[in-house]
């Protein structure tokens, strides 16, 4: 099983730097997702790894072997494309058996692997179909089978679900994850969809503007992001800016937000009195009440959104910050638009960051 390493990968297109000095190590059998907004350089990385592009600087290693300069067809990998790219003039069977044939694996092996992989994605009974006769989801399943047939232990998935309908995407996540894990593959998956990334990966590499922001497990990135951008990009969050107005006590302190409202927050990194601070909080970690409660800020409900098993309230706080609160349907006491409520902040659920110099909006910007 392969182990991947990227050392100092830089890729420039003219004056534009698509990836800047990327260092990354991926263990055998690991499912790693490269996540980031459009144009952050995530696709560049996998294209370099698979040899479709050559890096401007730096080297890739597969299984400890330097692959720079080796053409794509001699690198042993499977690649799944965003636009699926099934050969339109070939049937599902011909598409799937392409790799064993060009790799000269012999008739028996070819038939065996092709049958096996088509069965895995549940498409064996459609082997005589041409790609255009399949639905989007089926096409991508055939694309997966084709990549698996290359027999490689390294699978690259380049936005494999982007072209599909939202609902189909949900189903295919399971298909992909089950296949990769049951076959023990090392997978590198590129996506801009944070939910997809969280659901499918062992580890996420979050990128922005050609550089890596943070690398960690989905749980850590969601629950304990080290970075404001991460907090906003992976899962939604509401942000409140303020300033610390007292000294640290038991890793706790008081923050004053706009318009004089105060909140108790945790201060694990021992920020000094007077320091600018930003708190981030997930919608499911906020609560609302009609009564005034401890550590709460009043606000007015602006919008109420039905989201299935829970309701989401968008509340304009008295601090002029907009926060989103989610409440499970079962315990929802049906607040209405225009109601004045108190939003309760539980200090252990707040993520605390020093206020960024470039300004909060700049740091959070998704584009």
């Amino acid at each position: 099983m392969p182990e991947i390493e990227m050392k100092g990968i830089t890729k420039r297109f003219g004056k534009v730097t698509a990836a800047a000095n990327i260092n990354l190590k991926i263990k055998e059998g690991e499912y790693v997702t490269i996540l980031g907004p459009s144009g952050c350089g995530k696709t560049t990385l996998v294209k370099i790894l698979s040899g479709i592009w050559e890096p401007t600087e730096g080297d890739c290693f597969i299984d400890g072997k330097k692959v720079t300069g080796i053409p794509t067809f001699e690198r042993d990998l499977g690649y799944i494309f965003q636009n699926i790219a099934l050969f339109p003039h070939m049937t599902v069977w011909q598409n799937t058996s392409y790799a064993p044939i060009v790799k000269d694996r012999g008739q028996d092996v070819m038939e065996k692997t092709t049958t096996e992989n088509l069965e895995l994605v549940n498409l064996l009974q459609r082997k005589g179909f041409k790609p255009f006769e399949l639905s989007g989801g089926e096409q991508q399943k055939a694309g997966i089978a084709r990549a698996l047939c290359s027999g490689s232990k390294l699978l690259i998935l380049d936005e494999p679900l982007s072209a599909l309908d939202a609902r189909v995407r949900l189903d295919l996540r399971y298909v992909i994850k089950n296949l990769v894990k049951s076959k023990g593959l090392t997978a590198i998956h590129v996506t801009h969809d944070q939910e997809e990334a969280m659901s499918i990966s062992d580890r996420i590499v979050l990128m922005r503007a050609g550089g890596i922001v943070e690398v960690d497990t989905p749980e850590n990135l969601y629950n304990r992001p080290k970075n404001l951008f991460t907090a906003n990009f992976i899962g939604e969050a509401s942000f409140i800016e303020g300033r610390i107005i007292d000294n640290n006590e038991d890793n706790c302190c008081t923050m004053r937000a706009r318009n004089g409202y105060k909140l108790k927050i945790r201060n694990d990194s021992c920020m000094m009195k007077g320091a600018g601070v930003v708190i981030a909080v997930r919608p499911e970690n906020l609560f609302i009440s009609r009564k005034e409660e401890d550590n709460s800020i009043p606000g007015e409900i602006q919008d109420k959104i039905f989201m299935g098993s829970f309701m989401r309230y968008r509340i304009m706080l008295a601090t002029d910050d907009l926060v989103q609160v989610e409440i499970a349907e079962a315990i929802d006491k049906t607040f209405n638009i225009g109601d004045n409520v108190n939003v309760i902040f539980k200090s252990e659920k707040l993520l605390v960051y020093p206020r960024p110099k470039e300004g909060l909006q700049e740091v959070l910007s998704l584009e």
Binding site: S50, P71, T72, F73, F81, N83, A85, Y98, V102, S150
Partner: protein, 664 residues
Amino acid sequence: MTLSEKISDFISQKKVIKGWYALVIIFFIMLVIVPTLFVLTYAFTGWDEIQETVMKAPPEIQYTDVDLNFHNVSIIHSPDIIDVTDPYSLEVRYNMERDTSLNYTVYLMDDEEREIEFQDEFIVNGTGTVWFNASANDTHNHFHHVGEGFQTLVVSNVTWTPEIWEEEVVLRSGSRLPWDMVKDALIVSFVIATIVTIIDFTAGLPMAWLMVRKDFRGKKYIDTLIDMPLAIPTAALGFSTAMFWAVTPGLNPYGSLSLTSSPFILVILLHIVFSYPYMVRSLSAILHEIDINYETAASTLGAPPLTVARTITLPLFRAGLVTGIILCFARSLSETGGTMAALAMMTPSLGELAYPMKTGPTLIGAWKHAGGFEPHLAFTAMILVIITLILLVIIKIVIMKFKMPLRKVFPGPERLLSKGVFPKLKDGLSFLFMFLVLLIPSFFIFSFVLTGDPSPVDWGGFWGAMRFSFLVAGVITVINLIFGVPLAIYIVRGTNKIMTNILDILVNVPLIVPTSALGISLGMFWGSMDLGMTTLLVISAHLAFTFPLVVRNVAGAMEELDPTYEETARTLGAKPMFVFRKIVFPSIKFSVLAGAIMAFTRSLGETGATLAVVKEANTVPVYIVGLVKSGDYYPAALACIALIFISFITMMAMRYMTKKAGDN
């Protein structure tokens, strides 16, 4: 409301738009399609005549002043104009059952009444042709022998003096019908077109590949170089190419390779020069459209580049391949001026009908030039049109249906050939081909002008021809734009799909039908209306074969233009005319320009249609071919260079303007 708004409103009315489209379609059918195919009606109206003159042996001709003592030997010769400065030729065809000895004596009298006598002896058997060529000014004789089983032919005492010709306009044989000449010429044409297309494809594919899929320094210069031959009128190309490759009697400019004396090979080499750019252009266009992801996918699956090309790209190519092949085939089939010039170079002092090899278009040109061959011309044009159209369908079907053995994979050899020196060799050969076969022959004419012996040039005649050419090209460009742009828009955006599909196919017809056949057809159509104006005839002929160029270009751009732009503009409150002015036209204007300039330069360089439609038309290419035929090489070369420069300036202007648009 201002006047222009009122006009815009008026034009935007549904009825007006519909009426305008109807007008454009009627124009297209009546002025382009019907005249182009009109010759087919001759099959009904003039079939008797064809049978009489072309298919059936003519009645015995009394050879009053010729004493021919041989059996089964006939004489065909052509010129009806008796001018002793003309080169004459005597074509002797024979059909012998056993070895026959033929002695002949020819007496020629020149204008000073000096008599020249030639004697020779042949022994022949089987079927074949012997040419005797003579010029009253020239004591050189050329004998060309064609045929199988040639041994001895004896013609005893052939007496031949120029005076005879006045009485014998044409001598037709009992064993050799005009039909056979037509057949021979057409076979030659189709064989050449096939070979040229195959070579173009083989050499063009790697080049297209390089241009689309590879990045290298100087790519944009190569890109321009490939198009160069398109800027040079074919008459000039024929002249230049013949000088470079062929043994050209009486002319041996510095650097000439003089490699071949076979007209067949020379014509192939010539046709490659001007059809190769079409092939490379069409192939690159398709390659651009094939999603590179298919190729990337194949290579991630372990396929080496050669396997990818064969199993993925080529099969995806198919539909588009048809375009390239048909374009090249049609261009080769229809070319007249260059071929005439090249043939004249190889066999100077020969009459047109006596060239050892004729293609369909040159035969038409020669017959038209000779005059009095109307049924022959109609017949040849008709056959040419029918065969071309049938072939068009066959090529389409064959390429779409033909199962290429592309799925089989040869992992070992292909892997080997995809690596190391082989790809470099392939690229190198592509470039070599382009320089040796395309560029050097195209521009060899400059070598001749620089090293040859200057002789006086009749610039008055040249500029006269130039004025006429520009008049024709200018008028047809304007008319093409007025009718071509709306037709293109209708073809792409029209709601009546059956109608648009039919129009789409019809537009290609004048592009595929050889221009000389088209000229004959047009001449017949307008001639039957008895308008009789030379200029109008030439203009209508040029209009027909350039019209598709404008329509194709604009339709291509329209197809690329996402209709949602127009739709969005409509929902924003814009009337159709406003949408055209603000959205459609700015998006397609460079294709309109490109189409216009293509039409202009094609018209400027066309020989076949001009010669076919009227006997004496003085366009520049015709003027040049005339000079070449009469052996005035130096003036011809200078005229060529002048024409090349003018074409070139036009083309560069287009590139400049298109590029400027690209920068915006």
